[in-house]
């Protein structure tokens, strides 16, 4: 092996290592891919369950703005609500939020922030607020039942009065506003898709 001159030996060895690593990784990928997909599916199901009222099954439909999950209750086949993912940039980085809308697309049935890298302790309050002992999830919970038209509005250091207003987090206005902005424009997208698709109640 060492009688070959240096450069061919270099090429041979490096190629061998890379091919070997490619093989190992491909094999490992096929082993772990189903499990990872399974976990992702579980997380999705849990998220949808959080944002929509009780439902038995949901069908997913691809739209240009991401997948749309239509949840129905088996027994009566009537529409329980619609869920979809809203993605946008928050204060530090990307925010991914699962959103649930009532069948008539006028009221939110709930939101859940899946991924965020906001400032720990401040921006992270959009998920959970440890300092508020009695109601740590107050921020996402307050969205339940809020009207989306004409658009969600963040109210700072005052109690929300209108039915489309939510209470902002003190010290994390940018994060709170980011959440509502992301929701507003994704809801608008879904509305257009929903109407063009001719949903049961548009």
């Amino acid at each position: 092996m060492s009688n070959l001159n240096l450069s061919t030996r270099m090429i041979l060895v490096l190629t061998l290592i890379t091919v070997l690593s490619g093989g190992i990784l491909a094999g490992w990928d096929t082993i772990t891919k189903p499990r990872i997909a399974f976990h992702r599916q579980e997380a999705l199901k849990a998220a949808i369950g959080d944002v929509l009222p009780a439902h038995d099954t949901y069908s997913s439909e691809e739209t240009e703005f991401g997948t749309l999950y239509i949840a129905t209750r088996d027994s009566s086949q009537n529409l329980v609500g619609v869920a979809f993912m809203a993605v946008g940039s928050g204060f530090q980085g990307e925010l991914r939020i699962m959103v649930g809308l009532s069948p008539d697309l006028t009221q939110l049935t709930g939101i859940k922030v899946l991924e965020q890298i906001e400032t720990p302790g401040l921006g992270t309050k959009i998920v959970v607020d440890p300092s508020n002992k009695k109601e740590p999830y107050w921020f996402p919970a307050q969205f339940r039942g809020v009207h989306v038209s004409p658009g969600l509005v963040v109210v700072k250091n005052a109690k929300p009065t209108q039915n489309n207003e939510v209470q902002g987090i003190t010290g994390a206005t940018i994060s709170s506003k980011a959440v509502t902005d992301i929701l507003n424009n994704q809801i608008a997208n879904i509305k257009t898709v929903w109407t063009s698709r001719g949903g049961p109640e548009s």
């Binding site: 890379t18 490992w28 976990h39 890298i117 401040l122």
Partner: protein, 209 residues
């Protein structure tokens, strides 16, 4: 020159005397980034040690086979392969940990500690000795990560491993979870280590004892 230390000191040295983070300042990126919580620190330490052990096994086995010019490229590919294996393993079987460690697992590939150890040690010594050295270094690394994680977690969010220990009276120091806290805590830890290892100080201790 393969190292001539006895096997025991080969292992022990990684833990304190040549502790990767304290003594030779390697592997700082994950040390600072992930230790805002002790369990993250532990998980990152274990993942790094797994990669360190497996890659030093492979590299010390192939050390005469890889020509000198491509050694860095070759080593780093081997390390990256094992990191991907570890990353997918965590994602498949421990999704919660994988979520909390997030982007920092792939950064184990470029953890200066691992390539540093392979270059300085595993590429020159036999498999047994390299494994011992890597194990020592790994444990040393885990120790520092967990200690740093505990300190930052106690001060930053009043808990250890997620269990709240300080009551409501303690308002957590937000800075400890943020980047500046990491730098400061590590700086003070290194100063403490210098104080402890200072030869002239050990004379006093001997005189006093």
């Amino acid at each position: 020159m393969s190292s001539t230390l006895s096997l025991k000191t080969e292992f022990i040295k990684g833990i304190w005397k040549e502790n990767p983070v304290m003594a030779s300042l390697l592997g700082l990126c994950p040390t600072l980034a992930v230790t805002n919580a002790a369990n993250n620190g532990l998980a990152m330490g274990l993942a790094t040690t797994f990669v360190l052990l497996s890659s030093s096994l492979m590299i010390s086995a192939l050390r005469n086979f890889i020509p000198h010019q491509v050694r860095i490229a070759g080593y780093i590919v081997i390390i990256a392969t094992f990191v991907t294996v570890a990353d997918r393993f965590l994602a498949a079987y421990f999704p919660t940990i994988s979520a909390s460690l997030g982007p920092y697992i792939p950064l184990i590939v470029v953890n200066c500690l691992i390539l540093g150890r392979q270059e300085a040690f595993s590429s020159r010594n036999g498999i047994g000795r390299s494994l011992l050295d890597s194990l020592g270094m790994g444990i040393g690394f885990i120790l520092v990560l967990v200690v740093l994680g505990i300190i930052r977690e106690i001060l930053g969010s009043g808990s250890i491993f997620g269990v709240a220990i300080l009551g409501d009276w303690f308002t957590p120091w937000m800075v400890m979870i943020l980047p500046p806290g990491a730098f400061l805590t590590l700086g003070i830890l290194i100063a403490l280590a210098n104080w402890y290892n200072d030869p002239s100080r050990s004379k006093e201790r001997r005189a006093a004892s």
